[in-house]
């Protein structure tokens, strides 16, 4: 069995330590080692965006980052988006706009939206569509997702 490395990182503001094999992706570490299963595996090669997380302020596909690469870094996942007593405005906007059907892509879309609005609080419809083109949704046709992002931008 492959030897494991010790990694110390920050996840959703908390210091976290874990052991992982060097071949394990961040997605695998989040899901299988840390039981943070909000990030989903849709393709495991960076095409669908269902595993989107924010790494040191930058949106990444966690399936394309190795667990060991997060040493000393900061990771934001879907589990850290809401406040203890209330949802984030992006989450509220997704619910109010019925912007999810099966919901498997939703954590990825919310993380992508957060990364977008963190750097561009007032995106145009085209900017939203361009930014979210890395996240696949097969249920909604994206209409209600784009509207949810527009509403979230307005309310934040």
């Amino acid at each position: 069995m492959a030897r494991k490395s010790h990694v110390q990182t920050t996840i959703n503001g908390e210091t976290v330590e874990f052991l992982c094999e060097s071949r394990q992706s961040l997605l695998e570490v989040l899901r299988d080692e840390l039981h943070l299963t909000g990030a989903k595996e849709g393709c495991n090669n960076g095409n669908c965006g269902a595993c989107s997380v924010i790494l040191d302020g930058r949106l990444v596909n966690s399936c394309l980052v190795l667990g060991v690469e997060t040493e000393g870094k900061s990771v934001e996942t879907i589990e850290g988006v809401a406040e203890p007593d209330k949802l984030h405005p992006i989450q509220d906007a997704f619910l109010e706009n019925a912007a999810l059907q099966c919901g498997i892509c939703t954590p990825g879309f919310i993380m992508s939206t957060k990364a977008l609005l963190d750097q561009n609080p007032n995106p145009t419809e085209h900017e939203i569509r361009y930014w979210l083109a890395g996240n696949l949704c097969r249920c909604t046709g994206y209409d209600k997702i784009v509207r949810a992002v527009q509403d979230a931008a307005e309310s934040m």
Partner: protein, 751 residues
């Protein structure tokens, strides 16, 4: 029986009940399931599209440290060549088993051959490479017309064409031929002023759900098997696994986890019996997950097809006769959706003379599975394009020609049934008056197209139980996995009966031991049939609550009425108690109240859609861009309009993908060369405009609130609508899907 009244809950847009779980990442999908001592399984798949399996040697894999068990077809009970009814229709058991693990022959690239359970997924994957399989490679048959040739290589020695009750002498790749005939087509064509006949070819496309298939199984020493998985039908999984493993259904519990899309593709089982076999062999729980490539290569897409459509009409635009030839690729085993395609192809129109021939043909591709209105989109691509051409030749507006010929209540469909109250005309009228249709459209290389579509919808069995809580809320127990917000659309129907807010219903989707039999979430049936069961269960609660009020007031039940959320006595005593207050007094009036409802309704009521699309064609690149899209659909009654719109928008966009980009691209060896989301290019949000969903409501008499299924029909019109728009833009009729840039460039003579 449809109630004509204003509703308090039905038709509103509450936040979905499972919403917070799904926006916070807390909702647990199949792959998220964890249990102590879990092993991980991986499946070895055939690299060849057509090969005889000479031997399988698993010894090197078994010797790898960390490997706990290896299984092959030899671990399956010997399957009989017999037909079993497994919820989604009749299935030949031998084919079902052979599709789990190839026994004698591998019939497509990606066909499962063996599986390994190991302490982690990487070891399992490594072990798969150590399984030695000796193949005798055979020539593959990759296209339906090629497969129908008399000298084509045969996939199965024992398949002989059945046609109208007769079975042929010689083996063939054509499993069956069906025919529907109405009136006198020859006479009808003779009466026509114009006859148009065209050929169409459509590619293999995948449902493209974002969540790969998954299953975790545990096999107790007493034979109790538990399977945690995402599926469109937990009871269907139970039935299929019971048949495949020859294990009693009473010893199988299927726990449906949240499901990440299905569209018909998560009804057939693939790795669920594999996880069960590995669990049995190792004595440990085993989780098997598919990779995205496994999903493309090893699960059922919807078929490629060859279609010929001929239609004749008078100068006034009345269709006098229609003829269709539909040849569908079933994949490796018989069972393409050519039947539904034949049912739907001319169903929007009242045509006196019709002949439809359908052929179910095996080829060396994955066994096809349902995909949203299976068969109907292929068929409508042909019929709706030919009708557009007739309208154009006759100088009649394309919506007008649909109105001239529109089917209505009492008309007969070519395959037999008489239409009940349907809303096709209403969708065409709504499209005609929509600002999109009347907006200017004249720029160079811009075009507008329209097309209509039909899907019959299904009923089938559903069960719902309601437990009444002391605080005036109810817990609703159901068996329909929620793919698109059906917890809410079902809960709302119970809430309407009991006059409580949608938020006062707590819906739960439970395992097969905890609710009555419920058929798949498919066939656009869930809000219709499980909603119907919820309505019945709520009526049962209402009856029992009336009994309790009567007991409390010591009056006869006939003297209690329920209106506006309040029970009141009539005839004498003036007593009143709200639903909520009575819920708090159940203990003193006889104990808890539990209501139940079970249905198998026959009146699903067909659904119609009419779509309008504007495109621009880039003359240099051949790329077609969708500029504006309007989808009109009869929903009967939209319980939760936002999620009805969502179904319409999502279906339309899957249709846009099918029309413009999506197809399995095969090389000559029968290998799919684009088995990833990068190369199998589904629409992203950058490829699309907003999708304007217009709901028309023509209540379905077969449901208490008038509901019609809405999930499937929106994928039927887009391909033809876009083809018609491309014609409007550049004057070329596209007859092959997808209408990708290279096909456009070829059609325009640029390459």
């Amino acid at each position: 029986m449809t109630e004509n009244k204003e509703y308090k809950v039905v038709g509103t847009r509450p936040i979905r009940h499972d919403g917070v779980d799904k926006v916070t990442g807390r909702a647990l999908y199949g792959a998220d399931f964890q249990i102590a001592g879990l092993l991980h399984g991986r499946v070895l798949r055939s690299p060849h599209a057509h090969a005889r399996i000479l031997s399988i040697d698993t010894s090197r894999a078994e010797a790898l440290p960390g490997v706990k068990g290896v299984v092959t077809a030899a671990d399956l009970p010997t399957a009989e060549d017999r037909i079993a009814d497994l919820g989604e229709g009749a299935v030949n058991l031998k084919y079902l088993c052979d599709n789990i693990f190839a026994s004698d022959k591998a019939l497509y690239k990606g066909h499962a051959v063996a599986a390994v359970a190991a302490t982690n997924p990487h070891i399992a994957e490594e072990a798969c490479t150590l399984i030695d399989v000796e193949y005798e490679v055979l020539p593959p048959v990759l296209e339906v017309r090629q497969a129908m040739e008399p000298d084509a290589p045969l996939l199965h020695e024992n398949i002989k064409t059945t046609s109208m009750g007769e079975t042929a002498e010689e083996p063939s790749n054509v499993a069956s031929h069906i025919q529907h005939k109405l009136g006198d087509p020859e006479k009808g064509f003779a009466e026509a002023d114009i006859v148009i006949e065209r050929d169409f070819v459509t590619g293999t496309v995948h449902q493209g759900y974002i969540e790969p298939h998954n299953a975790t199984a545990h096999f107790n020493q007493d034979g109790q098997l538990t399977i945690w998985c995402s599926t469109q039908g937990a009871f269907t999984v139970r039935e299929q696994v019971a048949e495949i493993l020859q294990h009693p259904i009473s010893k199988i519990k299927v726990v449906p986890m949240e499901i990440g899309g299905g569209f018909g593709g998560k009804i057939s089982v693939y790795i669920k019996p594999v996880a069960a076999l590995l669990a049995k062999k190792t004595g440990k729980p085993v989780k098997v997950l598919m990779s995205r490539t496994d999903v493309f290569e090893g699960t059922g897409p919807t078929p490629a097809s060859y279609i010929r459509v001929k239609m004749g009409a008078t100068k006034a635009g009345k269709i006098t006769a229609a003829e269709a030839y539909l040849a569908f690729e079933a994949g490796a085993y018989p069972g393409s959706p050519v039947g539904p395609g034949a049912m739907c192809i001319f169903a929007p129109y009242n045509i006196e003379n019709v002949i439809i021939d359908g052929y179910d043909v095996v080829v060396n591709k994955p066994k096809t599975a349902p995909y949203r209105a299976p068969g109907a989109p292929n068929a409508a691509f042909g019929s709706e394009t030919v009708l557009d051409e007739i309208a154009e030749e006759l100088g009649i507006d394309p919506l007008e020609i649909r109105l001239i010929n529109a089917a209505k209540e009492g008309d007969r469909r070519a395959d037999g049934p008489i239409h009940p109250r349907i809303g096709f005309i209403e969708t065409v009228e709504a499209a005609k008056s929509h600002p999109h249709y009347t907006a200017p459209n004249g720029k160079k290389h811009h075009g507008r197209g329209i097309a209509s579509g039909y899907w019959f919808n299904i009923g089938l069995e559903s069960s719902v139980t309601i437990n009444v809580n002391a605080d005036g809320t109810i817990n609703l127990i159901e068996g329909s996995t929620d793919i698109g917000g059906t917890r809410s659309s079902i809960a709302m129907q119970a809430a309407e009966v009991l006059d409580i807010p949608a938020e006062s219903v707590n819906p739960s989707v439970v395992d097969t031991n905890s609710v009555g039999y419920t058929a798949v979430t498919g066939g656009s049936r869930t809000t219709y049939a499980t909603g119907y069961a919820a309505y019945e269960a709520a009526q049962d609660v209402k009856r029992k609550m009336i009994e309790r009020a009567a007991k409390l007031w010591e009056v006869d039940e006939s003297n209690v009425q329920f209106a506006d959320g309040v029970f009141s006595s009539i005839n004498g005593k003036e007593e009143q108690i709200s639903f909520r207050d009575l819920c708090g007094r159940l203990g003193e009036t006889g104990g808890p109240v539990v209501g139940s409802g079970t249905v198998n309704p026959g009146g699903a009521g067909g659904a119609y859609a009419t779509h309008i699309v504007d495109v621009v064609v880039d003359e240099e690149t051949g790329k077609v861009e969708v500029l504006r899209y309007t989808a009109v659909q009869d929903a009967g009654k939209a319980i939760h309009p936002s999620y009805v719109e969502g179904q319409i928008q999502g279906g339309a966009v899957q249709g846009i993908g099918w029309a413009l980009n999506e197809e399995y691209i095969y090389n000559d060896e029968g290998e799919m060369t684009n088995a990833s989301f990068l190369d199998y290019r589904m629409p992203t949000c950058l490829d699309l405009p907003m999708i304007d969903a217009v709901i028309v409501e023509v209540p379905n008499p077969g449901h208490p609130y008038g509901v019609r299924g809405v999930g499937e029909v929106p994928i039927v019109p887009p391909m033809a609508a876009i083809a018609n728009a491309i014609y409007d833009a550049i004057g070329i009729r596209m007859t092959e899907l997808p209408m990708s840039p290279n096909r456009l460039l070829k059609a325009m003579g640029k390459i």
